[in-house]
């Protein structure tokens, strides 16, 4: 199970909406409790590809986020990005570049602007498995 606060979901959604038509992206950090991951902080990063089909995290912002995680006792849990025009599932490119099988990969679909969909995936090789994502008030 991976748990995310509703406020953090809304923060992610606001960033993704603001970045349209481009993909938005960021990092998630928190703590691991047994087999569960608790997201304590969502980082909103710049997509240096500035594209509606690709994303790459800004390395300088990534460095700052990693330092912030360490300073706050958080562990990196994975990353997130938006799909402005496609469903919330990993593309072939997403799978090819998901080389950390311990990470969670969150994908926020804005295909239906009125009904955004967020899913979290465990990706290993070409296999992507949806994680049990719980968004809490």
């Amino acid at each position: 199970m991976i748990q995310l606060n509703k406020a953090d979901f809304e923060k992610m959604l606001a960033h993704a909406t603001r970045e349209l038509p481009d993909e938005a992206c960021g990092l998630i950090a928190g703590e691991v409790q047994g087999t569960d991951k608790i997201v304590r902080k969502v980082y909103l990063l710049t997509n240096i590809d500035h594209s509606n089909e690709h994303f790459s995290l800004d390395p300088k912002e990534q460095l700052a986020a990693v330092k912030d995680m360490r300073a706050n006792g958080l562990v990196p849990l994975g990353n997130w990005h938006s799909h402005p025009e496609s469903p919330s599932r990993p593309s072939e490119e997403d799978k090819r570049l998901a080389y950390d099988s311990k990470a969670s990969y969150m994908i926020l679909s804005l295909m239906d602007r009125e009904n955004p969909v967020l899913n979290s995936f465990h990706i290993e090789g070409t296999d992507a498995e949806k994680e049990d994502l719980q968004i809490k008030e």
Partner: protein, 68 residues
Amino acid sequence: MKITVAGVQKEVADGLTVAQLIVDENVETPQYVTVTINDEFVENGTFEQTVLKDGDNVEFLYFMGGGQ
């Protein structure tokens, strides 16, 4: 000499290069790794020639990207 790697202080041999450190640290998927020393990005392709100094602070950043 002492350096800090991902927030952890370590004793390493003098003259250690970034390329050797990547091996010593068992960095997975090194082809996707960007390295910073004291917040300065080390240019890809120069890891073999980049020698670490006492007191350096090293971070490994893993490329993250994808597409819809």
